[in-house]
């Protein structure tokens, strides 16, 4: 009995190491006020997107010709557009589109970029140097929006194709980032020590190098989500993304452009939301970078 009590005194020290690490990281994140703000707004947006059908007071595609171009009121919080659709409801549903576009296109970029970057950086050689790297150079030399535009035009208009196009455009950034990290880590002594204890290349890449590159990948991914949201909005604005009547912040901006003098609220609210979303995700991403960097105390 006495012994078990002694053990329990030492318990906090011997608790799950992963949990202990997580706790210090979370504490570090909470100290960063801007990151907390970014995180709260981001999660509010995610919440809004998920519960859009319950939160939206109107059907976002329902046209009401008796209430066209109405200014914000109690009935229509953010006003109505040229077809009498409730902007508040459309903005809420638009959050779904934007977050989907952000997450799925970055997911595509990660699924392609991480393995290519890992293998390219670890094995080096001709294919890495002359094919993969030159291909990323070529892709990075074209502005992201222009490339996405070209790809989306080839694939055909629509949200799915827009997401694929954005994902492909974001991929070279991840390949470069991960390759660079791998190049740095493959020379570390713990990799050599791992090889010296007989660990296979596959395990070294997956269990030793990949976990060490997670921090920069996560930071890059959050920033890429913000970029993807902008590109999706741009594509929708240009008519290559979400197709009408489905609401998307980008296409709402395009509609609002024609009514900037008479009904500025049509463009104002989706525009403000793009701004708030992107800045929140960026702030949150910065916070995550600081949280994962053990040198920041």
């Amino acid at each position: 009995m006495e012994q078990s009590q002694n053990l329990s005194v030492q318990k906090p020290k011997a608790q799950n190491p992963r949990l202990r690490m997580l706790k210090t990281m979370l504490e570090r994140l909470l100290q960063n006020k801007l990151a907390v703000f970014g995180g709260v707004v981001t999660f509010l947006l995610i919440f809004t997107a998920i519960f859009a059908p319950w939160l939206a007071p109107h059907d976002p595609t329902e046209q009401n010709y008796s209430a066209v171009l109405q200014a914000p009121s109690i009935e229509y919080w953010f006003g109505t557009d040229n077809l009498g659709r409730d902007i508040f409801s459309r903005v809420i549903y638009g959050a779904q589109v934007s977050l989907q576009a952000g997450l799925i296109s970055v997911g595509i970029a990660l699924i392609i970029g991480v393995p290519v970057g890992l293998i390219s950086g670890y094995y080096r050689g001709f294919i890495d140097e002359y094919i993969i790297m030159r291909m990323t150079d070529a892709m990075l030399s074209i502005p992201a929006l222009v490339l996405a535009l070209a790809l989306a035009a080839v694939l055909g208009a629509g949200l799915t194709n827009a997401m694929i196009a954005i994902g492909l455009v974001l991929t070279p950034n991840f390949v470069r980032l991960i390759r660079g990290e791998v190049l740095a880590h493959r020379e570390k002594e713990y990799v050599e020590a791992g090889k010296a204890s007989g660990i296979s290349d596959f395990s070294i890449i997956l269990k030793h190098i990949l976990p060490n590159t997670i921090a920069p990948i996560m930071v890059q991914a959050t920033l890429a989500i913000a970029a993807a949201i902008i590109v999706e909005a741009s594509l929708s604005y240009l008519g290559l993304g979400t197709q009408p009547p489905n609401p998307s912040w980008g296409s709402m901006l395009a509609t609002g452009q024609g009514y900037l003098d008479s009904a500025p609220w049509i463009a104002l609210f989706p525009g403000a939301l793009i701004f708030i979303t992107v800045i929140s995700i960026n702030l949150f991403g910065d916070g995550i970078r600081d949280m994962l960097d053990p040198k920041m105390k």
């Binding site: 030492q10 020290k13 011997a14 799950n16 190491p17 690490m21 080096r124 570390k188 002594e189 713990y190 050599e192 020590a193 791992g194 090889k195 010296a196 204890s197 007989g198 660990i199 296979s200 395990s203 269990k207 030793h208 976990p211 060490n212 997670i214 053990p294």
Partner: protein, 354 residues
Amino acid sequence: MKNTSEEYQLQVRGLEVGFNNKKNFTQILNGVSFNVQKGETLCIVGESGCGKSLTSLSIMGLLPESGGIRSGEIRFEGQDLTNQSMKEMSKIRGNEISMIFQEPMTSLNPVHTVGKQIAEAVRIHRNVTKKEAYERVVEMFELVGIPSPRERVHNYPHEMSGGMRQRVMIAMALACNPKLLIADEPTTALDVTIQAQILDLLNELKADLDMSIVMITHDLGVVSEMGDQVLVMYAGEVIEYTDSRSLFDNPKHPYTQGLIESIPKLQGKTEELPVIKGSVPNPDEMPSGCRFSTRCAFAKQECFVQSPEEVGTEDHPVRCWMYSGEWQKMTPFEGGESNDNSSSEAVDRQPIRD
């Protein structure tokens, strides 16, 4: 030399290793040969850039991609390691031959707990469950003297001190009961009291586990503490090879003599420590004669032209003209033939032995 090949744990013969850069091959190791008997410690001594670490990496089969073994053989229990496939080598690595690295700070992966890393190494070579592997880790931690091992296995590397991390590295290297341990300057990054502890630990473990050790060091203090046999390397060549007692009592090669002279003495008053001037020549600019000739205080004219053979007794071979029959007949060096700065500096040095 006295023994038949089966008695050697490790036998290295005429090892030539170098690097391919663009088109030419820069040779670093030039015919390195040595033997390690079962349960014996061989120390490889030499200054930075003389090929000590390259020798150990060759044995492990861990040469960088641009490096390669041009000729020679490395026999581990009679089996030549130079022509093993990658797969066969990774079965040997960590299992029969293990290695400890110089930097305990960077040799552990910062994102995993130390226990996890060692358990991983154990599970590669032994068919055990995760739990059994962890038990083995705890057992190893106890063996290498890590206090409260059951808690320490859950520590991350950054939560441990340098000495503790080197103990962890030793535990990792020994977890699969290797027959040969290669220690590449295991105490260089540690402070002196910890150095002594780690060396004592290695000596104890060597006796307990009946393994052979190849100890790579530039510290003659470590040699006197650990070494049964000593191999002195200079610029990729073995220049002297004997047991550690005769090396300290009767160093033959001027380089070895210089190394021993430059250790601070406890008795007597020393104004200034003797030094060996200059540094190891660049592999691309090796002198055509004896590789040490440019820094040697005794060098004669022939030394700069022709490389000496291994001479001396079977128990104490040395690569120096001084011990060959021709030394008396050779022309003394006047300083006219070579305008090399380092060589004229070397001539200024007082002879260190009469």
